[in-house]
């Protein structure tokens, strides 16, 4: 054993090996993999289709016209008829920027599924600590940052895959693509999902750096994910929210992610604040990841 091999001096050696290990646990485990596909189907097919907002505004739901005297002329009745039949589309369009609430919510789901996918990264950090795997990795010449980034990277890659599944399922269930949609939009969606996935998984990883019990991430999971989802534009547009909730939703990176996804996929009135969306989510990802890496230098040990 005297010969000395050339050992990689690359600072990030081992990063891909660790990332690939986490990904293997996902794609080699049929239950986890299939559940990752079934879950978005359930959300979209059941919740997405059940909340049929457009149905609420259909003409048949409106009260019958009162009988007027003198009766309307034929042309007046026609105009009024046109007005009412256009009312639904017009209200939907001004509220949701699209006539299909399903499409509106399906694109919110893209962000939703990212939150859930990345939340699991926290549990995987705790598992690795409990099972001793983390201790082994810590005793090898892999930098602490590589250990952290591998977790974050694998969760971000999974997020992209999950977002793609949601988009495909939504399309099969009747997603109405907007005029903004081009082939390039798909890559734009993947990019923003990757960024938000990076930021969120850094957040969950940072929380679990010192955790030794599964209860910790599970408790924090609900505390963080639910406000992130409800105080965002996932289900309802921000400009119709009460004034106290607006600032929260406006600072929520999930809102920017969802806005970007909708502008790319289902809106028809131009890209608008798309650059701002990318800048905000990108800054969120970079700042949170940096914080997480710095914390890992101090707290990721025995």
């Amino acid at each position: 054993m005297s010969e000395q091999e050339k050992i990689s001096k690359n600072r990030f050696h081992g990063l891909w090996a660790l990332t690939n290990r986490d990904l293997k646990k996902w794609y080699q485990n049929p239950v986890v993999f299939v559940m990752g596909i079934i879950q978005p189907i359930l959300w979209l097919a059941l919740l997405g289709k059940a909340m049929n907002l457009s149905g609420m505004f259909s003409v048949s739901q409106l009260p019958a016209m009162p009988t007027l005297s003198p009766p309307l002329t034929t042309s007046q009745a026609l105009t009024l008829g046109h007005y009412f039949s256009g009312l639904q589309g017009s209200i939907m369009n001004s509220t949701f920027n699209t006539t299909s609430y399903f499409s509106f919510m399906a694109m919110g789901m893209v962000a939703f599924v990212t939150v859930f996918t990345t939340a699991f990264v926290g549990m995987s950090v705790v598992w690795d600590r409990r099972l001793g795997f983390l201790n082994k990795v810590l005793s090898t010449p892999v930098s602490r940052s590589s250990i952290i980034i591998s977790k974050v990277l694998s969760a971000s890659i999974r997020s992209i895959f999950q977002a793609a599944i949601v988009t495909v399922i939504a399309y099969l269930l009747g997603l109405q693509l907007g005029a903004n949609f081009t082939a390039f939009s798909v890559f734009g969606v993947f990019a923003i999902v990757f960024l938000i996935g990076f930021g969120l998984s850094s957040l969950f990883t940072a929380i679990c750096l010192r955790a030794t019990r599964m209860e910790t991430p599970q408790a924090l999971f609900n505390l963080i994910t639910l406000p992130l989802m409800f105080a965002s534009s996932a289900y309802f547009p921000i400009n119709l929210m009460p004034s106290w909730l607006k600032p929260v939703a406006d600072a929520n990176p999930i809102s920017y992610t969802i806005d970007a996804v909708r502008r790319l996929m289902i809106f028809s009135n131009g890209y608008g604040q798309l650059p701002l969306d990318f800048a905000f989510v990108g800054a969120f990802a970079i700042i949170i990841t940096l914080i997480c890496v710095v914390l890992s230098w101090r707290y990721l040990n025995k």
Partner: protein, 335 residues
């Protein structure tokens, strides 16, 4: 590198948890090139804490240590690259195969794939896991997992290998096999080994030198023979037919250091039991006494342990469940 050169140097190493629990208390020792150095002590004595500091996964509160010239606090990445670690727990990833686990370890050390593939196969052969290499680790037995951990610890061809309780919870057969691996590593590869154990037989059978650690302090360091000799030698137990005090008679025999009468038997300490026993029999026969029973006991490390800590090592040992509970409690205290 000379035999006497110290590969591991430890000066005043100390670890205090939560500002109150002193797990390791200003310990000093050196490990020489090519030796098997053992840390012997009961559970909670500070063995694992010491190893964790040496392998740089835990920061010392005070003191310093160097391994192969590298400071464990300042050059931790270099130190980690040069040493191998076989931890107490099973750390392999259960969802991966044995082969995948070894390759993953190789990647963590930055060993290129061209090298690691061949080396992994060699190591699997060494620990006799070749036929199970493509089975997931969750199907492995305890002994197989232990061997896989050993293979992972050797992937970077370390100059120093750290083994934390290498045979904890293993059956007698697997324990003997593990001892053989450890001896082979020293003999075939000239590796320096640092191991912790709370099994006296293990320390006696494997180690060139032993440090006995108790309550975070090293109470004595030496070869097993030196330690046993420090007790004053062998013990001869002897009984005679007549109820008569022969203490003075025995004291005059060559090599006899001490004679004590206990329950009608005589406990005789001698620096050389094999030589002394016939001389005593001869002396007694000449003065007309008949020896009815005689036994010769070589001192064991248990007596050494008793001598230096005031407690029997056997008393300090507990059931495996208590050990596990203690370990969980310790781990929580450290968080």
């Amino acid at each position: 590198m000379s035999e006497e050169e110290e590969i591991i140097k430890v000066e005043g190493l100390t670890k205090v948890f939560n500002h109150s629990l002193t797990a390791v208390d200003h310990i000093n020792f050196g490990v020489r090139h090519g030796e098997i150095f053992g840390f012997l002590g009961p559970n909670g004595a500070g063995k694992t804490t010491t190893i964790n500091m040496l392998i740089t996964v835990m920061k010392p509160t005070e003191g310093k240590a160097t391994i192969l010239g590298g400071d464990i606090a300042k050059q931790s990445l270099d130190v980690r690259g040069a040493i191998g670690v076989v931890p107490q727990e099973y750390t392999a990833d259960e969802d991966l195969t044995g082969y995948e686990n070894i390759i993953l370890c190789a990647d963590l050390y930055g060993i290129p794939k061209t090298v690691s593939k061949k080396r992994a196969m060699d190591l699997l052969q060494l620990v006799e896991l070749t036929q199970f290499k493509d089975k997931r680790v969750q199907t492995y037995s305890g002994g197989m997992r232990r061997r896989l951990e050993l293979a992972c610890g050797l992937i970077n061809r370390p100059k120093v290998l750290f083994l934390d309780e290498p045979t904890l919870g293993l059956d007698v057969q697997t324990r003997a096999a593990t001892w053989n691996y450890v001896k082979m590593l020293k003999k075939e590869f000239g590796m320096t080994l640092f191991l912790t154990t709370h099994y006296l037989e293990e320390a006696d059978a494997l180690c060139d030198r032993i440090a006995i650690i108790d309550h975070g302090r090293i109470v004595v360091v030496g070869t097993p023979t030196e330690l046993k000799d420090s007790l004053g030698g062998d013990i001869i137990t002897l009984g005679i037919q007549k109820e008569e005090d022969i203490t003075d008679l025995i004291s005059k025999v060559e090599h006899v250091k001490e004679v004590k009468k206990e329950n009608g038997s005589y406990m005789i300490k001698s620096s050389n039991g094999e030589l002394t026993a016939p001389l005593i029999i001869e002396a007694l026969r000449k003065s007309g006494h008949v020896v009815t029973k005689l036994s010769l006991t070589k001192p064991t490390l248990n007596e050494v342990y008793l001598q230096y800590t005031g407690r029997s090592m056997r008393d300090a040992e507990e059931s495996r469940e208590t050990v596990m509970q203690q370990r969980v409690a310790m781990r929580r205290a450290r968080q």
